[in-house]
Each structure stands twice: as structure tokens, then as C-alpha cells.
Symmetry: C2
Subunit: 297 residues, 2 copies
DNA sequence: CAATTGGTATGCGTAGTTGCATGAATTGGA
DNA sequence: TCCAATTCATGCAACTACGCATACCAATTG
């Protein structure tokens, strides 16, 4: 194979096929999920790279040059093979079947996983996904789960782990609640306010102490080991509570409180057994989860 | 055509073919003019995107999975079509024949054009390129040239112009010369030194004045309207002279003088007649010049 | 069994590509 | 003939993907 002849940008060839078939840059862009300027630049770049003028810009309509039609023929063959590739892969993915269990904190299970699982369902409908929403961290080693999402660095050489990213959490409160009691202007003003606990009251007090907020366990008027329940309490105005910013997008009934002063960073690890990672079924779920969760939702 | 099935990254398919054929990421990277991390990430991304595990990483050697072999078949068909595309385009370009004249300042003609023209020669050997090295700016309108490289914004609606980028020039002097007379620590210390002029003595004095360097025309001991000649004089130690930084890369016998204080920015415009831009021959040269010159050499 | 070689994974800074917003140009219809 | 609609071009900001440097890992060699 002559590799040097293949080093042109293949995506630009795709742009050519789309433009030729659909008649305009805008239409091609829409079909490929890109924008008109991008397609325009890809065509220009392809022309400059190949050293051939492919399209004639005459006002509103584009027409292919003679050279363009010749090149298009080969590009269309690429597109047809690409379509075949896509269908084959899709078939392979759909053939993947069997159980996969994912362990995650209840917050993640509740807010982050559903959209990812819907996507997973689309590409591998025969998988049987089992989500274990639990804040315990021993599931994996006891083989209770195949894949786990963790917020501490996993230990043990039998595990394969990947740090996806650092997430940020702030203190939040309901907008209506803040309207009522006023918005704190400094950390000191939070002393003695009502808080919502996520599990252990003592830990919550300790956390708040770290940010200079003195509270007692009795200030935590509401507490639940179930994160989603606790968060609903915050949204309903029962007090201040921590929340990852990722899960608050689009929410209009809550506000971050002093986000510059109070900001908790925590890692997101994706973990599986070293040997399970060679199983196509597990690998697929692992990779899809990794891709989806490492980008900000 | 089902466009949504074609929105995967075609370059990643190319990576798969190269890896499968050459047996390793490193070899594939070398063949495609990329690096091993890039190829590795492209394969991973393709897997995540298609939802299929394609390669099995077992120590030092990679093997394709069953799914991988199926997908590879289609990817190889893409590569073969891509090769055909490249050959067709190359043939089309080689068929372009005829004269094209390019006007540029003698500096550009001397230092920037030759490598570009060599590249042009490779993709369209039948073109007859004529380079007009002149510092006059009327060539284009009088039809003495088809394409011009200019450093002032062209006027006239009958012209088609593109701003390629901003270039930077500094004051330079020969290393040996500086060893002899000492390196100026401030702009003031340049007063009364020897300078090399690029054309008109009066203009040079004016330029130097702008940067707080008072000189007289008699300080310009050497002057040539031919930029290359003047620059050779600078390199041989006849005095200080301006030069575009792009043309000094790899030169060890000259040094920039107070580059932070003395820095001239000037634009690079590529210009042609509006109607000539529709000619394939001219368009090719225009586009190749644009692509080559808008990147820092 | 240590050293070396050929290869893959990962962190980080940068350059190139993308999308958005806007301007310019052309066509078809009122 | 003018207006509205559609499309392409361009400037700019943000992000993604790239390359470099390096750590890591397996297999071969002495």
C-alpha cells in the first residue's frame, strides 16, 4: 500500500461527496452534523492539498469542475465503503450480548448514567445492564460489579483504573429559600444555618469546618444516605447542601452559594478487573462510559 | 445516502488499515506521517465511536479481534478508493499546463518562493512559472503578472485579494560584527551606528526614527534596492538592517538586535484578478501559494 | 538475571479546526 | 425594480486533537 498517497484528510473527501450529492455547502453541513463554514473550508483545503480545483463557485449554486467529477467518483467509492464499515460495526456491536453490572454512587447512578445507558442501548441492545447504586466501595473486589465509578483512587494491582477527570462541587440552596433568608455575602454568614447532610452527619460537619463554616450536627436538620433524596431536600428549600456542578445544569430552582470560596474538587475514576477488560462486552461498556463521562455533561 | 452512518471520523478508519497492515501503532504512525500516541488515540476513539473492540493489546504486539477483521475489510476498501482518489487528482493536476506569472518583492522571490515552487512543480509539472521579482506595485493592473504577493492592502474591485498573515521583521546584524562592536543594550546605543538600506535611504532613516534611533543618511553606508543584495551585506557585517524573521530561520551568522523593542509588523497579501481566479491554472497556483505562505515557514 | 530494545500508555503545552456571529452576494418573486 | 430569502465568505473565540517528553511494559540478548 502506498501510504504517502493516503495522507490527505479523508474527512475532506467525505465533505466533497456530501456537497456533490446535496448541491450546497449548507445542505452538506446539515447532513454531516457540521456547519457551513467548516464544510467550505474542508473543500478548499482538499483543493489546495490535491492541487486540483474541484468546485466552481458561481453565485448561489456550486457546480463540480471536470476534475471534480473525476475525483468525486473515487470519493463516492470511499463513502460506500464507509457506509459498509458503519453497518458492519453496528452489526458487531448489536451482537454483543450478556450481563454487565455497573456500580456507582447513587448520585451518579441517578443523574449521570441514564443518558449514557440510553446511548449504550442504541449501539448494543442485547446487553443486559445492571446498575448498582451504592455508596459502599467494596463491590468490585467481591465481584458484585463488573465496572465501578469511584471518587477515590482504587488500590490493588488486579484492578484496571482510569482517571476520567476532576469534577467540582459547590454548596447549593433553593432559590426560594435564599429569597426568604437572604443570600450570604461571606462564609461567616453561613454559621448556624440549616444544612442538608449526605450520609454521615459528622463528616458533613467536618467538611463545612474545612471551609471555615462552624456548625453542629444539630444544624443538619435533614439527612439522607440516599444522595438523590438529600438533593431533592435541598431543591425544596430545607437547607444548604453540596452538589456536583455537572448535575445542576439547566436547573433554575437552585443557586450556587459563594462558589468562589466553597469549591470541592473530586476525581472520577472508572475501574474494572484487569482480566475483565479483555472481554469485548465489558470493554465496550467501559469505553463508552469513559468517553461519555470524561467530557463535561 | 445515509449520512448519519458516515459521520464517524474517516481518518480513524485510515489508522485502522495502517495498523492492521503494518502490525504496530508506531509503524502505522510513521507511514502516515503522524505519531504513535495519535494513532493509538485514533484507534481507541474509533472503537468507542463504533461500539466495537477492534484490537487486542497483548504486550508488545497487537492483534485484531474478530470484529476488527470484519471492520478492517470495509476500511481497506475505503483505503483503496482513497488511493484511487489520490491518483486521479494527481493526474488532473499534472494535466494543468500553461504560463503563470507571479510578482513578488525580490526578498520574497528570493527566500520564500523557491521551496513553494518546487512543491508546485511536483504536483503540476506542466505549468510554466514566471517569477517577476520587483518592488514596484503596478505589475498586476497592467497585466504584467497573474498573481502578486503584496505587503499593502490592494485597492480596486477588479482584484481578488486574501490576507495570508501578519509577518514580523526585526533589526539584524552579523554575529561577527556584533562581536567586534559590542551588542547594544538599548535603542539609544544604536544612534550613529552603520546601517544597511533596502532601497531608499530617506525611508530607512524615517523608519529608524520611529523606533527612536536617530540617524542620518550618511550613516547608511551601504544601500541596495535589491533586497537580497542588501541582506547579504548585513550578513557580511556591513551594518544593521531589517529582515523578516521568517527568512532568518536556521541562520547562525546573524542575530536579532533588541527584538522586543524593534519589531515591524507587515501584512502578506495574495492578489489576483477577479476573473483570473476562475481559471483552474491560476486557482491552483493561488491556492498552493496561499496554503504554503500562510503558515510560518 | 540484568540490560537492552522495540513498543504502548499518559500528561501537558500548543497549534489547528470548529462553531458562532456577521457581512456580502445572488436569485426568485412581489 | 426592489425586497426577501437563501447561500457563501470571513473574523474571532473556544475547544479539540496533535506532538513532545516521559513513564511503563514485554520480549529478546548477553
Amino acid at each position: 500500500m502506498n501510504w504517502t498517497k493516503l495522507t490527505f484528510d479523508w474527512n475532506q473527501a467525505r465533505a466533497l461527496v456530501a456537497v456533490a450529492d446535496l448541491g450546497s455547502l449548507s445542505a452538506a453541513a446539515k447532513a454531516l452534523g457540521l456547519t457551513q463554514p467548516t464544510i467550505g473550508r474542508q473543500i478548499s483545503a482538499l483543493e489546495a492539498d490535491l492541487g486540483v480545483v474541484l468546485v466552481e463557485r458561481s453565485g448561489r449554486s456550486l457546480t463540480l469542475t471536470v476534475s471534480g467529477r473525476e475525483v468525486l467518483e473515487a470519493a463516492r467509492a470511499m463513502a460506500e465503503a464507509g457506509l459498509r464499515l458503519s453497518l458492519v460495526a453496528s452489526g458487531q456491536a448489536q451482537a454483543l450480548a450478556g450481563p454487565v453490572s455497573i456500580s456507582a454512587s447513587d448520585m451518579f447512578a441517578h443523574y449521570a448514567l441514564p443518558p449514557v445507558l440510553r446511548h449504550l442501548q442504541a449501539i448494543a441492545p442485547a446487553l443486559e445492564i445492571d446498575v448498582i447504586a451504592s455508596n459502599e466501595i467494596s463491590d468490585l473486589k467481591r465481584r458484585e460489579a463488573d465496572i465501578a465509578i469511584r471518587h477515590v483512587r482504587p488500590t490493588g494491582s488486579e484492578l484496571y483504573a482510569r482517571l476520567l477527570r476532576e469534577a467540582t462541587a459547590h454548596l447549593y440552596a433553593a432559590r426560594s429559600y435564599l429569597d426568604q433568608i437572604g443570600r450570604p455575602g461571606s462564609v461567616a454568614e453561613l454559621t448556624g444555618k440549616n444544612f442538608v447532610g449526605f450520609g454521615k452527619r459528622a463528616e458533613m460537619v467536618q467538611y463545612l469546618e474545612m471551609y471555615g463554616i462552624s456548625t453542629t450536627e444539630s444544624d443538619i436538620r435533614f439527612n439522607s444516605a440516599n444522595g438523590a433524596v438529600a438533593w431533592e431536600a435541598v431543591r425544596k428549600g430545607l437547607g444548604f447542601g453540596f452538589m456536583a456542578v455537572d448535575f445542576t445544569r439547566g436547573l433554575t430552582d437552585v443557586e450556587p452559594v459563594l462558589p468562589n470560596e466553597i469549591s470541592v474538587k473530586f476525581p472520577i475514576w472508572l475501574v474494572t478487573h484487569r482480566e475483565l477488560h479483555t472481554s469485548p462486552r465489558i470493554r465496550l461498556v467501559f469505553d463508552v462510559l469513559a468517553k461519555a463521562l470524561e467530557a463535561q455533561p
